[in-house]
Amino acid sequence: MATLTVGGKALELDADGNLAHINDWTEDIAREIAVQDGIPELTPQHWTVINFMRQVFMKEGDAPSIRRLTKESGIDTKTLYQLFPKGPAKRAAKIAGLPKPKGCI
């Protein structure tokens, strides 16, 4: 099983390379995953998306669709793709410490 080491602590990862345990997640870990994924700095807009995704996941057990993300978080589609280039839903979920989203939309 692959691990990610942040601050001297090895964290277990799932088959997609996302955190295996959502409770391992901290904001520092989010920053570390983002850097490794090519996002050097998380802006307040990034945090809006990350926190919204975590909030929905905790309540419903899956990350929100892009449509819902844009409608309810107030971050529009264009901005979302700028914040998380190369696949917003998947990358935001990874940084948020969640498994890869299951939905198709």
Partner: protein, 158 residues
């Protein structure tokens, strides 16, 4: 999936049919590609153009005749109102899955960075003008231009 498989980096999706069930798969695949960070473009041809014609895009219907997968007899499918009924049922189910109506979906996919084109031959055949199309259409292009733009990627015909 084998680790050695080359990941897909670019898709050009052709939408050639104008029924609701003919249009959505291509839209879902284009949106899904962008969500995965795959470059995507959409090419609308023949009756698929209905999906991007302002006056028609919100009135696409499910085909209830000549569609064996509907599992209703052809003559029943032909009863007036059947297609509208099946369409509204399907739209309701799609809304539950957070699949947007056509116009909203096109905006979303376009905002996600997927360019959209109308087929030159069809536009000429149906005497359509740039003004007939939704603003997401980036241009009317020939088959040759389509292949040029699709270079280096996969072409998906729906």
């Amino acid at each position: 999936m084998a680790d050695t498989a080359q990941p897909i980096e670019k898709v050009s999706i052709i939408i050639s049919r104008g029924s609701l069930e003919g249009v959505y798969p291509g839209l879902i695949m284009a949106n899904g590609a962008r969500m995965e960070g795959i470059e995507a473009s959409l090419f609308f041809t023949f009756f698929g153009l209905d999906a991007v014609i302002k006056k028609r895009m919100n009135d696409l219907k499910v085909a209830t005749v000549g569609n064996p997968a509907m599992h209703i007899p052809t003559l029943v499918g032909a009863i007036p109102g059947m297609s509208s009924f099946a369409t509204s049922m399907m739209k309701k189910e799609m809304e539950k899955l957070d699949i947007p109506p056509v116009a909203e979906f096109l905006t979303m996919i376009h905002d996600a960075g997927a360019p959209m084109y109308a087929c030159r031959a069809t536009v000429d055949m149906f005497h359509l003008k740039k003004d007939d199309f939704c603003p997401e259409i980036d241009g009317v292009i020939s088959v040759g231009q389509f292949y040029e733009m699709a270079a280096g990627g996969q072409i998906i015909f729906t």
